[in-house]
Symmetry: C2
Subunit: 192 residues, 2 copies
Amino acid sequence: MVQQQRAVRTRQALIRSAAEAFERHGYVLAKLADISARAGVSVGALHFHFENKAAVASSVETAAALRLRRAAWNAQRPGMNAVQRLTATSYALADQLRRDVVSRAGLKLSGEPAREGSLDLRQEWQAFVEKVVAEASDENLLVERVEQRDMADLIVAATTGFELLSRRDPDGLSPSLLTNFWRFMLPRVPQT
Amino acid sequence: MVQQQRAVRTRQALIRSAAEAFERHGYVLAKLADISARAGVSVGALHFHFENKAAVASSVETAAALRLRRAAWNAQRPGMNAVQRLTATSYALADQLRRDVVSRAGLKLSGEPAREGSLDLRQEWQAFVEKVVAEASDENLLVERVEQRDMADLIVAATTGFELLSRRDPDGLSPSLLTNFWRFMLPRVPQT
C-alpha cells in the first residue's frame, strides 16, 4: 500500500517535471534524462511508468485536459445565462493556465504537429464557444446584427492569441486583459 | 555572370524549399538533406550558401521580414488616416502570408525558442499597432472611453490568434474574417 502510494507520487512528480521540460524546450527537444532527474528518479524508474516520450506527453496532455475541463465545469453556476457562462469560463481557464504548468504544457502539446493522435483541446474550446454563442442567441442575448459565427470566430482567435502571447509575457492571461476584452465584446450583447 | 545568376537562383530555391520544410516540420525537425533535395541540389551545394540550419533559418526569416515590411509599406496611401492605415496594413499582411510560404515560415520561425538571436517580427507588429492606435488618438479618431493600450492589446492578440489558427485552416487569414474583426472593432472609432 505504501509502495503503491509512492508509485502514484512518483508518477505525479514525473508528469509535473515533464510539463516543465515541455514548456521550456518544446516536445521535440525535451529529454527524458532531464525529466527523470528533475523528478528525483532514475531514467529506469521513468520507464517503469512510461514507455517513451510520446507516452509521457500523452499523460501530460490527459492531465491537462482533466484539469481544464474541471476548471470550466466548476465555473458554471445555477441561473447563469449563456453570456455569463462564457465569460466565467474564460476567467476560470485563464486562472488555471496561469497557476498550473501541467495545464499550460498540455495545451501547448495539444495539436503539436510532431505528435500523433493527440487530443485537440483547442478544438474543444472552439466547440464550447460556438455552443454557448448559439445558446446566447437562443436566449435573445445577442443584438440582432451580430452574426453568431463571426462572434465565435473572433472570441476563439482573441483567446488563442492571449494564450500564445502569455508564453512570453505572464500578464497575457491576467483577469484585467480578459475584462478589457469582454468590455469590447459585450456591448454586442445587452449588458448583464 | 551566368554563373552568378545561377547562384542567386539556387539560393532563392533553397530559401523557398527551407521555408516549406520549416512550415511542415518545424525548425527542430527540418532536415538539410530534405531541403537541398527539394531545391534540386546536393547537400554540398547547400553548404556553399549556408553554414548550417541556423543560417538557413536566419535567411528565411530575413527574407520574410523584407517581404512583410514591403507589403505593409505598399499598403500606405497618401491621405489615409491612422485607422485606414491600420486596417489596410492588416489586409496586406494577411494577403502576403496567404500567398507566400517564405513569409509564413519566417513569421513562424521568428521568436522560436530553439533559435537564438532571431528577429522579432511579432514585436514589430505590436509596436506598429501601438504607434498607429496612438496616432488615431492624436487624430481624434477614437471614441473617448476607449483605452489606447486595451485596444492595441486586443488587436495584437486577435491578429496573432488569426495567424496561429490559419496554420490549420487556410481560411484563417481570409479577408472576410478580417472584415468581421474590424467591423467589431471599428464602432469604437467614428466610421470612416
